[in-house]
């Protein structure tokens, strides 16, 4: 250690000498001399020249005014970044780099597309085209009425055909598929009162039972082409939502019954149902799905409101009734029931 120290030679001989030889107080004195100047300086600093300061600020502010210039420059830098003609660089990438990027992204996204295609393919391998994998969400059928034009409020004036003509057109259109001739040609007349079960492979085409327009009698539009709207006795058709595999309880077909939902029960004095049983015959069940049960015709129940209070809105609730039918789900007003208002003006 000693040798090392010696070999290092006194590096700052005169300097160190002075400090060391002076005694402490003198060093202090020396130092104070410097400090003095600094301290004076510090004092002045403590009182910055405020006026000058303000002037400067004003200068700065006035300099700051041609802001447009700065913006312009920024924009130019931006444009240069987008496309630098000198170096032939765009977005800080050269052409070669860009082609590499395009190539890699093309490759990457093509692979991703392949992956998602493969996944979809595998998904479809697990799904039967004839039978949904799960049906628990539509276990109990919903109910819908016709005519339906965006609204469940039937407002019309008997004496003004314009107000009800669209219901008639809508119904006529809807019932085209129920024309007797068509039904007889396409579908079979199967025995009523029992399920129309067709065993056999899933992929075999299934036959459908006839539901003829004429079953609807007065509401078929055949006798009364205005479906009663012209007389203030509107026909409304009720249709149960199709559910693959749905079978009503055996021997007890689903019935329809309508009444005033809220208010005076007597607002509706009489309703005629067609078919008169006011029910969906068992022979229309089960439904085998769109793919094989091509000509399936949803059974209908027509409600003929022959005597309803006029000139006031009557809320009507039509419910399905039968074993296993749920018609009182609070959150869903269309499961097993349908609510609509009739407001017939004269």
């Amino acid at each position: 250690m000693r040798r090392q120290l010696r070999s290092r030679r006194a590096p700052a001989f005169p300097y160190g000498y002075r400090y060391r030889l002076d005694d402490q107080d003198e060093v202090n004195q020396n130092y104070l001399a410097d400090e003095e100047e600094e301290a004076e300086e510090a004092q002045v600093l403590v009182v910055p020249d405020l006026e000058e300061e303000e002037e400067k600020e004003e200068e700065e502010r006035s300099q700051g005014q041609p802001i447009g210039n700065a913006w312009w420059q920024k924009l130019q830098i931006m444009i240069e970044y987008l496309w630098d003609p000198e170096r032939r660089i765009s977005l800080a990438q050269t052409g070669q780099s860009w082609s590499l990027i395009l190539f890699i992204y093309f490759f990457f996204y093509a692979s991703l597309a392949a992956v998602i295609t493969l996944c979809m393919y595998m998904l479809f391998l697990t799904i039967s085209p004839y039978m949904p994998t799960f049906t628990e969400r539509v276990k109990t059928p919903g109910v819908m009425i016709r005519p339906f034009a965006h609204s469940l409020n039937f407002n019309f004036n008997v004496s003004e055909p314009d107000t009800w003509q669209h219901y008639v057109i809508s119904l006529n259109g809807f019932l085209q598929g129920y024309n007797d001739s068509l039904q007889e040609e396409m579908n079979v007349d199967c025995p009523p009162g029992q399920y129309f079960i067709q065993d056999g492979n899933e992929d075999e085409d299934k036959k459908a039972c006839q539901f003829k327009r004429s079953f609807l009698k007065n509401c078929s539009g055949l006798e009364d082409p205005t479906f009663g709207y012209a007389t203030g006795q509107p026909c409304i058709l009720l249709k149960m939502n199709r559910i693959v595999g749905f079978r009503p309880e055996l021997g007890d077909p689903v019935k329809v019954s309508c009444k005033v939902q809220r208010g005076d029960e007597d607002d509706i004095r009489s309703i005629n149902y067609y078919p008169e049983s006011a029910s969906f015959d068992l022979r229309y069940y089960p439904y085998y799905g769109k793919l094989t049960h091509v000509n399936y015709t949803s059974p209908l129940v027509a409600m003929h409101f022959t005597d309803v209070v006029k000139n006031q809105a009557v809320p009507v609730q039509c419910q399905l009734k039968g074993k296993g039918i749920i018609n009182d789900v609070i959150s869903d007003h269309f499961v097993g029931r349908v609510i609509f208002t009739l407001n017939i003006e004269t």
Partner: protein, 1033 residues
């Protein structure tokens, strides 16, 4: 005095420039400010007229209406207190809490979410006008969005407040008291109740409680370092010695310390009107810089907000041109904004920062401002104090010279390893002189405390000698008792030596021993012999040369050198009863026997050289700024490695090559020692040049004000500057620095107030730990942000596809919030616990403007690679759910309008089944849940891949960070609770998902992991390649 320097100061010290810019629109405020400014100016002027030091005691009594003997009356004091306010520095003006709170409410993404919420309400308003029975969904959504903003705002505010509170409690730890004479009685009162005119008594160890004019003094010395930065003790007496109030000896300044002696004085200024108070209040005007992490987060917020707004507007236009209703388009816009904004991220960042702050507090770095946590990590220059930070802030014996040899003493913190040769007879004599010729004493009652930690009464050198001999010789007090002192001449500036006469410890030996120490050359003058190997020899020429060589060598090391000599008085001339008279000096003080030299230094802390080396390898320039002499400064700089062993200054080269300093090529020198004098005459450009060209710089004999100039110089180099400081005068520099580091032990309150961080142990090595933590948190924040941004695409795509392709909405806005603020929160915090990937302290500090927290690589990789893969995976789950329920993907296209029509209750699916609106809605919610689960599952993979940016996960260790697994577990548990626990709560639109759907996205999750591993592999394999440049974030 240089005019230039002055200007620099005036610009920087006057904070009104900043204030003005922000308040320009507020004219009233502006005027107030002007008023205040001139008021301030007035007051400062008055300070300069301070003439109390020139007044006599009587004049003072008259001026302050006091009595030097009896003090103020209590009533009078109370009057003054009411007039002047308490004697405390008013804390820097704080932003009112409510403003801080509101700032949290509108900062960052909050403004976007507020816009979203307001749009929701507007949309409802329009709906309501059209249809009185409009659903309240959008009102709820608006409320939820507002709640999200408010809750995250409250959270961030709470976090901020918590970290501020730590600081508040810290600064209030030591209440100060003062001994005051009032009503002719001595009373101890809290220092803040002092008023002008009070007569106070101070003694060694006290902090001076206000600016006082000394009336009497007994050997009073003060440490003015908190004012001037110079820690040499300065004598204080009642005499008026200098025109300048700052220089005269009869004024003691508030917050300086009385080192020894006692004094009585009259209080002339209190609180903010003290000199220190003025400087402190000016310092609070220096605008503090925005922290780098704040800039980074702002940058990131801009990017994300930019994406959100532009995508939102683009699709708003697309939606309108696709003939969507404007109302619907607004709702799409809200969805897009919500999907794009990582609602939970800023809260996460706050938590992450405060976790790190806690970790750093454990390592003695107390962080005042959360954002400063990261600033240390990006620091590229540290301007460090010498005393106390790099050194131990005490004197210690470093070298000894006797028997013509230099010996080295152990200067480490405990000094236990004194390895020099102690067998020589000379050492026996020398050690005796060291022990006896010393007035310092241990304070009684410290028997069980290690020697180095004992409190000593006495000055720094004597303390060092006392402890040194205590370590080597054992009980010094006992030795002194055995060698009874009969006479003593204390050190004074005319003699420049200290002498004492002792009886010898041998009762038979009736000699008296004269021991003497002092300035070496003065001691040598008084000697005629020298002791070599225990034998007295005449002091020949060769001995004198050897002495000078040794003296020079030790002086050159920047050490304080003392000479020691002794003399045994002849028994016949000085019998036992001889009356020694120190005034008459009736005993010989020349022709003594020279025994040896001893040099002392404030030794570097033992951990510092290592820490400095670490800084250097971490690319951080360590600049030493000290008030000490260049020679000492350089010596310490060399010993701690601030100037490395191999580098030379221009002067060194000049001496080595024996050429003039001017001839040296400045490029050859790596180190530079710049004194305050040189700095004063320097233009800013010259300073810039020095800062840029030398890698190792020491600023010596600088005043604390010059620190500010140095800091600015560094900042002009685009460096992130950390500054350490303890004095009040350091506070402008601390404030100006990117991160001001105050010393917890030695630091003044003003410094702590101005600083962003407080080093609880005053140790430089703690800064290095801070740097490491700061860098780690930057890396980890990158990971957190990458993790969080990724799912944005998976959240955004549903809306885009919904608008363009017309699928039933894959995921609802509320559900998105459950990802952002539910499942993703804990995992993203968990990334903060990730260990460094490697080499964190071996790389350069990040460039403030080039190495962004969120760079385009990160954004592109997160958005266009992983994010897109995630979106596909989530869509797969969604399609699976729909297909298995009856709606095949093809049937979903353009189904949106019919799907959402409330009156339409017989929508046909792919099997010909008919669905009511509610049945469809339930399926839609199931779809939301499925999509949510899909994202969640893939976010697990995302979390795992974000553990590293370059290394393979298997290199990093899959299970090393346990918190990640806690995060994953939390993700899964939250999702399970949402689906199965809250699945029946319709407002949340979650449903009970079939168990198998939870596994649909797993192959995609694995794919993400594999893809990222491949990316990292290529990065490691081909460093510097196109891939590395574009795929490494």
């Amino acid at each position: 005095m240089s005019r230039k320097t002055l200007e620099i100061y005036s610009v920087e010290l006057d904070g009104t420039k900043d204030t003005k810019q922000t308040d320009q629109e507020d004219d009233k405020k502006y005027n107030d400010l002007d008023l205040k400014k001139s008021h301030q100016k007035e007051e400062l002027k008055r300070e300069l007229d301070l003439d109390d030091h020139k007044l006599t005691s009587e004049e003072l009594e008259q001026k302050y209406g006091t009595n030097i003997i009896t003090g103020l009356s209590s009533a009078r004091a109370a009057e003054h207190l009411a007039r002047d306010g308490p004697n405390t520095l008013s804390p820097p003006k704080q932003t009112p809490e409510i403003i801080k709170f509101l700032k949290q409410m509108v900062g960052g993404f909050s403004i976007l979410l507020w816009i979203g919420a307001v749009l929701c309400w507007i949309a409802y308003g329009i709906q309501y006008v059209n249809d009185k029975s409009a659903s309240l969904d959008s009102v709820y959504l608006g409320v939820v969005l507002a709640l999200v903003v408010i809750l995250t705002g409250i959270f961030a505010y709470y976090q901020e407040a918590k970290s501020t509170n730590i600081m508040a409690s810290f600064s209030k730890m030591i209440p100060q008291e003062a001994l005051v004479i009032r009503d002719s009685e001595k009373k101890v009162i809290p220092a803040e109740q002092l008023v002008v005119g009070d007569i106070v008594e101070i003694k060694g160890g006290d902090q001076i409680p206000a600016d006082i004019r000394l009336l009497s003094s007994q050997g009073c010395k003060v440490d003015n370092s908190s004012l001037t930065g110079e820690s040499e003790p300065q004598p204080r007496s009642a005499e008026f010695t200098h025109e300048n109030p700052l220089e005269t000896k009869n004024i003691g300044f508030y917050s300086t310390t009385c080192l020894e002696g006692t004094a009585t004085g009259v209080v002339i200024n209190t609180g903010d009107r003290t000199v220190i108070g003025r400087i402190a209040s000016l310092a609070s005007g220096v605008g503090s810089e925005k922290t780098p992490i704040a800039t980074e987060i702002e940058h990131f917020v801009h990017i994300v907000a930019g994406v959100a707004v532009s995508v939102g507007l683009l699709f708003f236009i697309i939606a309108v041109s696709l003939k969507y209703q404007v109302l619907d388009s607004i709702i799409f816009l809200i969805g897009i904004i919500v999907a794009n904004v990582p609602e939970g991220l800023l809260a996460t960042v706050t938590v992450t920062l405060s976790l790190t702050a806690k970790r750093m507090a454990k390592k003695n770095c107390l962080v005042k401002n959360l954002e400063a946590v990261e600033t240390l990590g990006s620091t590229s220059i540290i301007c460090s104090d010498k005393t106390g930070t790099l050194t131990q802030n005490r004197m210690a014996v470093a070298h000894l010279w006797f028997d013509n040899q230099i010996f080295m003493a152990d200067t480490s913190e405990n000094q236990l390893n004194q390895a020099f040769d102690q067998s020589s007879g000379t050492w026996a004599s020398l050690s005796k002189i060291i022990a006896l010729c010393n007035r310092a004493e241990f304070r009684p009652g410290q028997e069980n405390i290690p020697i180095m930690k004992k409190v000593v009464v006495g000055d720094a050198s004597e303390t060092a000698l006392l402890k040194f001999s205590e370590v080597i010789l054992g009980d010094v007090m006992e030795i002194r008792k055995r060698n009874r002192k009969v006479a003593e001449i204390p050190f004074n500036s005319t003699n420049k030596f200290q002498l004492s006469i002792h009886e010898t410890e041998d009762p038979e030996d009736k000699h008296f021993l004269v021991v003497m120490k002092g300035a070496p050359e003065r001691i040598l003058e008084r000697c005629s012999t020298i002791m070599i190997n225990g034998q007295e020899q005449p002091l020949g020429k060769s001995n004198a040369t050897a002495f000078h060589t040794a003296y020079m060598e030790l002086g050159g090391l920047g050490e304080r050198v003392l000479g020691f000599c002794h003399l045994y008085l002849p028994e016949d001339e000085f019998p036992e009863s001889y009356p020694f008279d120190v005034d008459a000096m009736n005993f010989p003080t020349s022709n003594l026997c020279f025994v040896g030299l001893l040099s002392m230094i404030d030794p570097p802390r033992s951990t510092v050289p290592d820490a400095v080396a670490k800084c250097r390898s971490a690319g951080i320039k360590v600049i030493m700024v000290t008030g000490d002499h260049p020679i000492t400064a350089k010596a310490v700089a060399k010993s701690v490695g601030v100037i490395s062993a191999s580098s030379e200054t221009v002067e060194d080269i000049a001496r080595r090559c024996s050429i003039a300093v001017e001839q040296v090529n400045k490029r050859d020198a790596r180190a530079a020692v710049v004194t305050g004098m040189e700095l004063k005459d320097m233009a800013p450009e010259q300073l810039d040049e020095i800062l840029a060209n030398y890698s190792e710089i020491v600023f010596a004999r600088t005043s604390p004000q010059q620190k500010l100039i140095i800091v600015e110089g560094c900042q002009r180099q685009d460096a992130v500057v950390a500054v350490t400081g303890d004095g009040v005068n350091d506070s402008p520099a601390l404030k100006k620095a990117d991160i001001g580091i105050a010393m917890g032990i030695a630091g003044s309150d003003a410094a702590k107030n101005a600083a962003d961080m407080v080093l609880l142990d005053d140790n430089f090595a703690s800064i290095v730990t801070g740097v490491e933590e700061g860098r780690l948190i930057f890396d980890n924040l990158k990971k957190t942000i990458a993790y969080t941004l990724t799912k944005n695409i998976a959240e955004l795509c549903p809306f885009l596809i919904y608008i363009i392709v017309g699928l039933p909405l894959p995921i609802g806005t509320i559900t998105l919030l459950f990802i952002d603020l539910g499942t993703d929160i804990i995992p993203s915090i968990a990334l903060a616990y990730e260990k460094a990937e490697s080499d964190i302290m071996n790389r350069k500090p990040r460039h403030k403007k080039k190495d962004r927290l969120v760079n385009h690589q990160l954004a592109i990789y997160s958005y266009l690679h992983i994010g897109l893969m995630q979106a596909l995976g989530a869509f797969l789950v969604y399609f699976t759910v729909y297909a298995q329920q009856g709606f095949w993907p093809t049937s979903l296209i353009n189904l949106r309008v019919r799907w959402e029509k409330d009156e339409l209750n017989d929508v046909e699916d792919s099997y010909g089944q008919e669905w009511t609106r509610y049945q469809r809605k339930y399926l839609e919610w199931t779809g939301y849940t499925a999509f949510f689960v899909g994202i969640m599952v893939q976010q697990i993979a995302d979390l795992i891949i974000r553990k590293t940016r370059r290394n393979s996960i298997f290199q990093q260790g899959l299970f090393r960070n346990k918190v990640i697994w806690v995060g994953i577990a939390s993700q899964i548990i939250i999702a399970l609770i949402l689906s199965y626990g809250l699945g029946s709560v319709t407002a949340l639109s979650f449903t009970m998902l079939r168990p198998q759907y939870w596994f649909v996205a797993i192959p995609h999750a694995i794919l993400i992991w594999v893809y990222d591993e491949v990316r990292k592999l290529f990065i490691r394999r081909y460093p510097g390649s196109w891939w590395d440049k574009n795929m490494y974030y």
